[in-house]
């Protein structure tokens, strides 16, 4: 696409892939909450994702073609744009300010997007190895299909709980800025709705992060056992 060659075009790509990733985190968070209904429910839900589209399509086809591949593509585009734009911005300053800057509104979240994003990415690698692929060195008790006990085992190790919670904090910073920023990037600006954009980003972030944190915390406090 010709438009992706421009910086403004790359921001569109970041915003659109960002929306896809936001959609993923919403559904992933909601799906996870099945764990509070017990082992049978969450395990059926996990299988259900693989059965999506049956009997019209072969098993797991919908999962791959409409969820996994597009998500991986969104990640790839998002990260490629993030790093190329980040490099452009680094070069655009030339000599850095030699005295300390005193920012007025650029906040911690907006200035650390590439770091919060990188933490989320590193966490994702661990998370897939831990609970999707079940690599033995990461999750020695992994049993495919037994989502409930895999969770209970992984959160029986306190460093893992800390890791999951820390990753959620990074995600919170990332989407708190991202879920506001994307409106500007795609030119969605209307005085009538603008005041809701900030509220939307804050509320969205709070719901996502609380929902995700509920699972490791639920295990620590013995609700999931």
């Amino acid at each position: 696409m010709e438009i992706y060659r421009t910086d403004v075009g790359k921001k569109y790509a970041m915003a659109i892939s960002g929306v896809m990733l936001l959609g993923f985190v919403v559904f992933h968070m909601i799906g996870n909450l099945h764990v509070f209904q017990g082992a049978a429910q969450i395990n059926t839900y996990g299988e259900g994702l693989r059965d999506l589209g049956e009997p019209l399509f072969p098993r797991t086809l919908v999962l791959w073609a409409f969820l996994r591949v597009p998500l991986a593509a969104a990640f790839a585009v998002h990260i490629h744009a993030a790093y190329t734009l980040g490099y452009t911005n680094l070069k655009a300053r030339g000599t850095h300010y030699q005295s300390p800057r005193d920012y007025l509104v650029a906040n911690y979240a907006s200035r650390t997007m590439r770091w919060s994003g990188t933490i989320v990415l590193l966490f994702l690698a661990w998370h897939l190895a831990d609970l999707t692929w079940g690599i033995k060195t990461v999750n020695s008790e992994f049993a495919r299909g037994d989502i409930y006990n895999n969770l209970v085992f992984t959160f029986s190790r306190w460093p893992v709980v800390v890791l999951y919670l820390a990753a959620q904090i990074a995600l919170a910073f990332h989407i708190r800025h991202g879920a506001w920023s994307l409106f500007q990037s795609i030119g969605a600006n209307n005085p009538r709705f603008n005041k809701f954009r900030r509220t939307f980003a804050n509320t969205f972030t709070a719901i996502i992060v609380i929902g995700f944190m509920a699972v490791p915390l639920g295990t620590v406090f013995g609700i999931i056992h």
């Binding site: 655009a92 030339g94 000599t95 030699q98």
Partner: protein
């Protein structure tokens, strides 16, 4: 009031620069920041030392030439105020004030605090005007314009091209300047025929010089005219239309 200044001194574009410390005693709080620098310079000249070079012209906040970083903030601590309109009562007796030129790769340092802002002219040349000769000013109300559009266009037209937006932006992005120059034409009927050609040309010229926007909003609060980042959203939307829409139809937008 008695102040201490730390001012960036640099003899030319490729010369080595450094901060120099100057005492500035007996500054009146009624002086503007530039008058304070004048006072320091008069003393430097009396001591046969090289005065501090800084850019200025109108000294009434309309020409855009006077911008510098003051204590890490573009145009200093007072919001919506250019350096020439900043008064010393914004500071306190005994303050240490650090003054640094705008930093962006595209803005070469000419001398001390003076930078070359001509990349902004390149952006204007790419389309920041109306190419049809329009003759003398038409009668008022010959072309009806909704009040809201006229106001929004006027707000964008308040841009004085000082480059504080780029200097303050953590990414050195030129979005606020470019989008203001686009909006003051594109919100009015006269700007419509060249609207999409204009946004394409000006955005792409901007990208040759500056960084990319990540919506920090730092530009808006640094702007001496408080120009809104709403203009950036409008620019982004028009840019997509310019790229993707059938131009024959987009002209009727």
């Amino acid at each position: 009031m008695d102040l201490t200044l730390e001012v960036w001194r640099q003899a030319g574009e490729s010369a080595e620069g450094r901060f120099e410390t100057y005492d500035a005693p007996d500054v009146s709080e009624d002086m503007s920041f530039l008058e304070m620098l004048d006072l320091v310079n008069e003393r430097l000249i009396a001591e046969e030392r090289e005065p501090i070079a800084f850019d200025h012209d109108c000294r009434e906040g309309i020409c855009g030439s006077c911008g510098v970083m003051i204590n890490g903030k573009a145009h200093g601590p007072q919001l919506g105020t250019a350096t020439c309109q900043l008064h010393m009562r914004q500071f306190e007796d005994g303050d240490r004030i650090v003054v640094e030129p705008w930093r962006a790769k595209a803005f070469a340092i000419v001398r001390d605090l003076v930078v070359d802002r001509s990349p902004l002219d390149r952006i204007i040349e790419a389309g920041g005007y109306i190419s049809a000769p329009t003759g003398a000013a038409p009668d008022a109300n010959m072309i009806p314009v909704p009040k809201e559009s006229a106001d929004a266009a006027m707000d964008a037209a308040a841009c004085i091209g000082c480059a504080a937006c780029i200097a303050a932006c953590p990414n050195s992005a030129g979005q606020l300047f470019t989008s203001a120059k686009l909006a003051h034409l594109d919100l009015l009927p006269q700007g419509q025929p060249e609207r999409y050609k204009r946004v394409e040309a000006m955005v792409e010229t901007m990208e040759e010089f500056f960084g990319s926007c990540t919506n920090h909003g730092e530009c808006e609060s640094a702007c001496p005219k408080s120009i809104s980042i709403d203009n950036i959203a409008l620019m982004n939307r028009d840019y997509l239309i310019a790229k993707l829409k059938n131009r024959k139809l987009a002209g009727q937008h």
